[in-house]
Amino acid sequence: MTAAQPTARHDEKPKASEEGAGGLPGELMIWVLIISELVVFGAGLLALLATRLTDPAGFAEAQSHLHRVGAAVNTVVLVSSGYLAALAVRLAAARPGLARLLLILAAGLGAVFLAVKASEYAALFAQGIGTETHAFFTFSYLLTGFHAAHVLAGMVLLLLVAVRPAPRPVGVAAAFWHMVDLVWVLLVPVVYLL
């Protein structure tokens, strides 16, 4: 029995001919996931804004209880974490050890994000504010909680691929992480600022 001949190296960044539909960079399935998640969060944010039309004053008052500074800090934390993940993708082939460190640091910033988010939830709970307090909080807990679950999933992915940081899996995990980043950038204005 002859050993299987390798047809493609799995430790190289995909070239244009290996890319997804119509030249999408990276894996096609991760783009399907990214687009699906963006549609789900986009629909949720549009639903929040549409529901707000029924009670603008109540929504504005409810929104004033959220911690905008925490949201701003978390934005900087996530875009910085995304930077580390993007660097890891570029270094995975040539310097896997450094890529591993960057992935662990990126996941660490994810933990910082969740800690800030947990403190925000704790402050709201201390004021007796729950999902039933007002329709705004139903949406904000749902959207930010669902997003936080994605942050946790992304951290697990980053740490898993950090064990053996080959370019292709690192690229997939980083793409998921950037999607989490992108959703947060669109979520903050609607939930916290407008």
Binding site: A16, E19, G22, G23, L24, P25, G26, I34, G42, L45, L46, L49, A50, R52, L53, P56, F59, R68, A72, T75, V76, V79, S80, G82, Y83, A85, A86, L87, R90, A174, A175, H178, M179, D181, L182, V185, L186, V188, P189, V190, L193, L194
Partner: protein, 80 residues
């Protein structure tokens, strides 16, 4: 463009968003300013973190959809 420039631009746009919000502008100014800044950040993430700059057709498609979504956000926010 080098990644650290993209990171610096994203942090800068985030600080601009915080500054704009703290400046307490008119409702329309806040809505349009914050959403334009969010659009710019999204575009940077899509093109440079997610590498869509390698696929100009897809990048333009995402830009178009993003613009429609942000306009819908702005319309609903200003109607409230």
């Amino acid at each position: 463009m080098k990644l650290h420039y993209i990171w610096a631009a994203l942090v800068g746009l985030s600080l601009l968003t915080a500054t704009l919000t703290a400046a307490n502008p008119s409702r329309a100014g806040l809505v349009l300013g914050v959403l334009v800044l969010a659009g710019l950040k999204s575009r940077l993430i899509l093109r440079h973190y997610l590498d869509l700059s390698q696929s100009p057709v897809w990048a333009r498609g995402f830009d178009l959809v993003l613009a429609f979504v942000l306009m819908a956000f702005a319309g609903l926010a200003l109607a409230a």
